[in-house]
Symmetry: D3
Subunit: 255 residues, 6 copies
């Protein structure tokens, strides 16, 4: 049975990012993509995440109504992932939480190579919150913004190799997670360069890995716990106009 997985990119103006996922489609797997109509263009702050969460939940409800089998958030901040789980019954997976668990399955301690220093603190707190902080060796930044990575992918890969080597040799990591959804595509080159330097560790690209895990959960007939993510109870929403209507969407939790 063909599974349908929807990728939600939790920011506006991001339609062009959907093309990256076509490569994962096959006879068993249909992949569709959406980004937000309502929300911010940049996510790397708590406020950005908060502004992106309502429409992410609306997009999740829309996907469930359309018969999608599972949802994957296309951002390492796992934006709206746990909130959306309250509203839908199909699996919703965030790439950070998922890749931390997959990394835990593959090796003894985990390194994360992220963009910039300012997200390290929040990523450490999230790892604790996910119950995976115990295996986290270190998070190191390559000190490049999304724009800089797009402008110079070669430099991005070189920095990823350097930082990954530090994560393994200095911090003792046995597995490395690429800590930003915009690093997709670098994993094979980084892995090859590291192998040349005698460093053989799995390099996890979080979003593509999360797609595979989402498909596995569908095959296993599993979804998140309604005990842990109970249905929200809200009677009235003021001031979100169309968005409020979309979030309600069905009459599930809106009396």
């Amino acid at each position: 049975m063909k599974k349908h997985i929807r990728i939600i990119h939790p920011a506006i103006n991001a339609d062009s990012l959907g093309g990256r996922f076509r490569q994962f489609e096959n006879e068993q797997l249909k992949i569709s993509f959406t980004c937000l109509d309502y929300g911010p263009d940049i996510l790397a702050s708590r406020l950005g995440v908060a502004l992106a969460t309502p429409d992410t939940c609306a997009k999740a409800k829309e996907a469930e109504r359309e018969g999608v089998d599972a949802l994957v958030i296309d951002c390492m901040g796992d934006v709206g992932c746990h909130e959306a789980r309250e509203s839908v019954s199909i699996p919703v997976l965030g790439p950070y939480e998922t890749s931390l668990h997959v990394a835990g399955l593959l090796g003894h301690s985990i390194g994360v190579a992220t963009m910039v220093d300012e997200v390290i603190g929040i990523m450490e707190i999230m790892a604790k919150q996910f119950g995976t902080g115990d295996k986290l060796a270190a998070i190191r930044a390559i000190q490049m913004s999304v724009a800089e990575m797009e402008a110079d992918p070669g430099l991005r890969d070189q920095r990823l190799v350097e930082v990954s080597e530090q994560l393994v040799k200095i911090d003792g990591a046995g597995v490395v997670i690429l800590g930003c959804a915009e690093m997709q595509g670098a994993e094979k080159r980084v892995s090859a360069f590291l192998a040349e330097r005698g460093v053989n560790v799995p390099i996890i690209e979080p979003v593509s890995t999360t797609i595979m895990i989402a498909a596995a959960l569908v095959d296993a007939g599993l979804t998140h716990s309604k005990q842990s993510f109970p249905e929200p109870r809200i009677n009235q929403i003021a001031g979100y106009d169309k968005l409020a209507g979309l979030i309600r969407g069905s009459d599930r939790w809106n009396k």
Copy 2:
């Protein structure tokens, strides 16, 4: 110097709740109150919290512009507290995080008496996230909704006494936090009833305690770390109409 503390109740339709705080005003302390214009009426879900966060941040910026000295969130979900810290420089305190730290100062292990079972999981995760999980003995629910507590405050107090006694005698708590902002006013009766049963532990009413701590931080000249809560970078917000304008408010983080 008179300090001005603003209470933000992070839900709509809550103007009537402001009266509770007048009793804390004195020559040194001015207290003002606001609730939300945009957001949900009920908060006890991750989605409710997400919908309440944007206007909480807008209200925080407004307060800072008006010269308020510190902000206190009037909800045990600490709704929007860390997000607002990114946008303003005056102290913003949530009653759950604050009362967990105060409880840690007063005794060896902490019990929380909350409303209903369904919030226990998220409150445990929040305590870990705040770095205070180590001292948390247990969270127990009195099994009453906000509406039920309002309808029968006598029953609420009786249940609080029973649950507090269990927290102390079964779970070993040395301090008890009233785990919902709507339990305000019960602390003295609960404390007296417990003392009659030979149980002498501090009963912390979170919001009033947080007001006192906020005033102390102002006196000490301290506010939250901009290293931990850096300024958000967002270029564009779609679909929040007036709310988006309010969040930007000043031109601080909006280029």
Copy 3:
């Protein structure tokens, strides 16, 4: 591309157990099964595990030579899983470590319903070792041996329902793992009975779930870390006769 997953049951005299896995085969997934030629018939002790490990490693090497894509151990003791990872490069997954990570993805805290009290201690230590102990709410036993479960599956299911309900209601679990490979098949009935009682939590059957995750890792091109599981160096093995030869198998680690 069709994936080939081999199930290794790490005990002797267990050929009849292979039939259970045929149901998971499809156009994308070939499943083969083997049990041990050398080792014990019962595994529920550290000694039993030690005696089962060498031939499990031999069977893993054999599978890798035959072009199998991934290996799944058919025992909640994850017998020989980490040892076999040293010798082969294809993914090797144990159902206990895997289902703890999957459970962590689906809910806030994890309950395990196992057979008998005497394995609880070792299962708790293993969860710590896997770095997942932080999310483990409790392990409870249904107090039935493998033989008793086989003799009375109805009683087994009834006990599983009772114990699962305790894990959720008393211990706060949001997800329940069936803690023994011999409970396979019970998950749907247990889940349905629990739903009737108003308890809606995912019930994870570990071995089938692990098969799906193994397939996902193959799809994602991921395997365990050679940094964490380096190639063993042994020059000589005395007294394992044929078994020693099988373990060497290829000349990979045997100089």
Copy 4:
């Protein structure tokens, strides 16, 4: 209502240190100061702390009899703080425990800049004991004794700036605590120098911060838990002559 807070410096020959606290007095706050009659002159050892504890408890009882509202220990070893809590009912706060909790409220991870290496071990153990070890990023020493800091406050400030920068940039601290009561007065200069280098973190001066928190607890009507700090039962004390009499002081715990 004017609050009266007493500072106890837990060493002998320290009368001259009281002047530092006059700046914190105002219409709401009376501050008095005492040092010990019986005990050691230097505290930086477990033995020094043990010798200072009895008279600290005697001074605490004396203060309670005199109607003082709260007590603050003037030493980062929190000398006698928990012992005195057994004997009195007014709040007793140590600056190390208090500033760790305040730092936890203001940022994600905490750095401490202390005097010399030899106190780091005991300060790490104390942070664990207080339940705040989880948020402690690192403790670093400026390698100056109290005498050296007094002789060259400029060098002290320079070293504090250097060490604070290391705590933030290398250890990831978001808040810095000045780890010795003798660093009082440096906080503003250190903060300004750090800001020039682009490091914006709160610098907590522990004793003055603890005075503000003590006043807040008085305002909130809170004191430590008698469940956690029960009344001591001692029938007879040999060999402490006058000191023993002072400790008994009232007939509260001395039958």
Copy 5:
């Protein structure tokens, strides 16, 4: 070579307690006993412990001068143990810290059967401080004071059996520590009664076990770390009269 171990009972009026230790003497082991001249008669409070510490240190220095090989504190509060380590170079062992480590060597999780509820909190904190909290399953009280245990040893043993069984069956303990030095002599009867009920766990009597470990450390040529327990620096002690002189004793740390 005959080893000489000195037992220090850290309270006054306790000379009669020394006889208990004669049974452990043999050709290899000389045991001497002392109690305090200066200090309290009852220890079960932080204040009691503080008042007992100075003379415990004096007795430790006296023992070292007399050529004693190792010291054992005769109280589960490990009174003065870490303070005395600063002043002497021979091993000083407390029975609580030592028995927690021995219990950790013998089984997976540790139960402690103590006297009364009011010491449980402080014993839990001490276990964390010793780095052994991770293995502590639970501490339960038999609800008898020292006086009551002396008056009715039969009842004491019966309660110990009941509480030990709860520690094993409810809390999952694999080893039980008798949590008070006054329970010495009960270990064999408790062990036998438990065996009759099918509960086979080691029952550790802390003081006698600590004597054996102290002898082992002497044989291994090991003592505590001066890095962790550095020499105290104190110039002057006021008001301890004779006791101050005894603590200085030699001129080791007193300039």
Copy 6:
């Protein structure tokens, strides 16, 4: 009463290693030595450990039948230690678990100086499993194999001094464990060299220290918990020929 302790070296071809232990014999202590007949020659891998475990258990049963009082494993991998505890009632101690507990008794944090980087990961996991991970400061490798240490003991000692100094000065260790059984004999020289550099920490040689602790447990009448290490139940073992017979040995666990 003379105690008889048997050292089991868990590898083949190691008879020559027994001579090292004669120095510990005296009137109270008889020491005998055995190595394996069946198993690998090199242990530094999980597979090596698995292949060594069965005959280690057989040797343990043999020793118990011969009236030996306690067993010590001669390898820092604690090979077969917990498995053998299931089969015998006399104490079985591994040097890694034992020296971690002894180190915990002697200082605040523990450093381990091991051979090569590749064993660090597994040693960290073992420390967590033993419940002692909390006190482990760091494990550092001297980067020499067993063969290289044997070829150049002077270089080994020099590297141990360097690495021990790093463990103390950089990682904050207060105690250092020699992390390989082949470092025996270096402890005094390393200790002396470190003292010359002003570093005074206990250097624990694990196997000799474990012998002393084993003797202490015999004197204290203590052995491991049968609750934690229950008797194995195995009906049939295939393919271990003579070894299987030896493991059964008596009819204790073999029905």
